[in-house]
Symmetry: C2
Subunit: 355 residues, 2 copies
Amino acid sequence: MKKITLLLTLILVSITTKAQEDIIIGEKFTIHSDIMNEDRTYLVYLPDSYKEPDYGKAYYPVIYVLDGETNFLTTVTIQKTFTRGMYNTMPECIVVGVVNTNRTRDMTPSKAVWLYNDKELFADSGGSEYFTDFLTKELRPLIETTYRTNGYNMLVGHSFGGLFAMNTLVHHTNTFNAYIVLDPSLWWDNRKVYNEAKEIWSNTNFEQRSLYIAMANNKYKTDEEQKHSKTIKEFCDGILYSAPENKLNVNWKFFESEDHGTILMPAIFDAFRTIFEGITLPVKEIPSNPQIIWKKYDKLSQRLGYTFIPDEVLLDNIGNYAITVGEKNGAKEIFKYEKKYYPDSKKASDNLSSL
Amino acid sequence: MKKITLLLTLILVSITTKAQEDIIIGEKFTIHSDIMNEDRTYLVYLPDSYKEPDYGKAYYPVIYVLDGETNFLTTVTIQKTFTRGMYNTMPECIVVGVVNTNRTRDMTPSKAVWLYNDKELFADSGGSEYFTDFLTKELRPLIETTYRTNGYNMLVGHSFGGLFAMNTLVHHTNTFNAYIVLDPSLWWDNRKVYNEAKEIWSNTNFEQRSLYIAMANNKYKTDEEQKHSKTIKEFCDGILYSAPENKLNVNWKFFESEDHGTILMPAIFDAFRTIFEGITLPVKEIPSNPQIIWKKYDKLSQRLGYTFIPDEVLLDNIGNYAITVGEKNGAKEIFKYEKKYYPDSKKASDNLSSL
C-alpha cells in the first residue's frame, strides 16, 4: 500500500510539475549608481506587443514609478487594463519601478529635521537632487539604450514621492512629460516646494507638460496632521488659476472615499485616463470612417505637445473588426496606416495582402 | 576596436544577466477535467505570508476569479493593495483565476441561440451546470488539498461571468460565501436568472452570504443594448427590498464614470472593501486598548456568518508598533493572541520572549 501511495504521489508530483509555470509580470535588475554610491534596484514591465514577432518594432512611452516595491504592480495592472486592444484608454507603455533604499533621503528637497518624542526624525533628509540626477543621468539613459522608448516620459509619485515629483516639475520642468502626483507631502519644510512653485510658476512655460494631482480624504485629527491636506488644497486652488496660460495641462481631483493609503490605485487609474483623455476610439464608427482615428490622435498630440501614433495592436484589431462588419475599404485604409507606421510589421503586410 | 566593443558587450551582458530576476505573481497550472472532458488552466496567487517560515501556518479564504486571463491580475493587485500589513481592508486570501476555453458555453445557464446578420450566435450556450460541477467537484477539492484554505470562498464574475455567479447564488446558494457580480448579463434568455431569482428569493435563507453587484454606466444606443443595464437596475431595486430578512448581506453600486469594460478594477476594489467593511483597525488606538481588535473581528464574523481571525502579519506589526509607542502591556496582549491563533509561529514566540 505504501508503495502504491508513493507511486501515486510521484505521478501526481510529475503531472503538477510538468503543468506548472510562473506568472511573470516583469523583471528586476540591479545597477550600481555612481551618483548615489550604492546599488539600486529597478523593475521593468514591457507590453505584450513588445516581443510579438509579427508586429513591427514599436517605440513606447515610459512610466517611471517611485516606491516601486509597492506601486509598480499597481501601475502595471492599470496599464494592462487600459490597453486590452480595442477601447484603449492610454498608449501601451513601458513601466519602470524604482525601488527605495533610503526613501526620506531621496525624496526630500531639503534637510528639515523634526524632533518627535526626543528622537530626530528625517535626520538624513535633503537628497533629492542626487536622486533626480540618478533618475535622469543614470537610470533613464540605461532604459533608453536597452529598450525601444519614444521619448515621452511620465513620473508617478505618492506622499514623499509626490513631493519629489512636484519638486521635479518645479525645478526640472522638462525632465518628464507628465507628472502624476498623489496626495503629496507639500507641507515639507514649511511648504518649501509650494512656496517656490508659487514664486516661479507664473513665469514658467510648461510647454504642454501634464500635471495630475490627487488629494485624499484624510481624517487627520491634530492641526499638525491636517497641514498635509490643507497645503495640497491651497496649492491646487492656486495653480489651477494660472495653469492654462502657462501651457500646463493640469487636473486635480479630491477622492472622497480614499485616505492617504488607499488613494493609490483609484488615483493612478484616474490619472492615466485623464491625461490621455480623448484617446479612446469609438470602435463601431471607425470601419465606415477611419479618419476618426487620425483626427483623435492629432487632437491628443496637439494637447500633449507630443506626436502620438496608434499602437499597432489597435490598428490590427480595428482593421480586422472592419472586415467582420463588411467594411473592406475601411479595413484597407487602416491597414495602410499600420504599414506606414510599422513598416517592418509582418502582420501589416499579411493584413494588406489578405484584402 | 571591434574586439574592445565585443569585450565591453560581453561584460555588460554578464552584469545584466547576473542582476536579472523575474517578477513572479503566481503560478499557472493545467489539469484535466473529467466533467468538462478537456484540459483546464488555472492561476494561483499565494499571499507573501504563506511561505514565510517565521510565521505560523495560517489558513486562508479563497477568491475564485472567472475570466482569469484578464481578471486574475486585477484581483491579485487589489488583494495585495488591501493587505499591506497595518491598515488592512480585507483578509489575506489565496486567489485562483479560472482561464476560459469556451466562455459562452460555460457561463450561460440555458441554450438561447440568437440570429445576427444570418449568423447563429451563442450556438453552444447552456453549459453552466457542468462548469459549476467542475469548479466545486474538481477544481476546489484540488485547491483545498493542495493549499491551506479556511473554507471561506468568494466568486468574482463579470458580464457573462456575472450571470454565472448570480445563477450560482440562486441555484447553489451555499457554494460560495461571497458573490461579486460585475455588470452581469442578466438579460440572458429573457431574464431567465432574474425571473428565477424573483420566484425563489423570498423563500431562500441565504445564511449570511454576501452579494455585491456593480452596475456600469453603459451609454448603449439601441433598445436591445439598453436591456443590459435596465435588467440589472430592476433586479437590484427588487432584491434590495427583501434581502435583509433573508439573511443576505447585499450591496449594489452604480459606477457613473465606468462602462462595461472599465468597471472591473474600481468595482472589485469597492466590492472587497464593502464586503469586509469594519475590518480595518484604528491602528493608533490599539496599543492602549487591544480589545478593539477582538471587538471588530467579532462584529465582522457575526455579520458574515464565518469566524475570522486577524492575519498574523497584522498582529505582529501592530504589536511591534505598540512597543515603539511605549505600550508594553498592549504589545504583550497582542502577542499572546498571536501565539494563541498561530501556535507554531516562531515570530510569536520571539515577540513574546522579547518583552
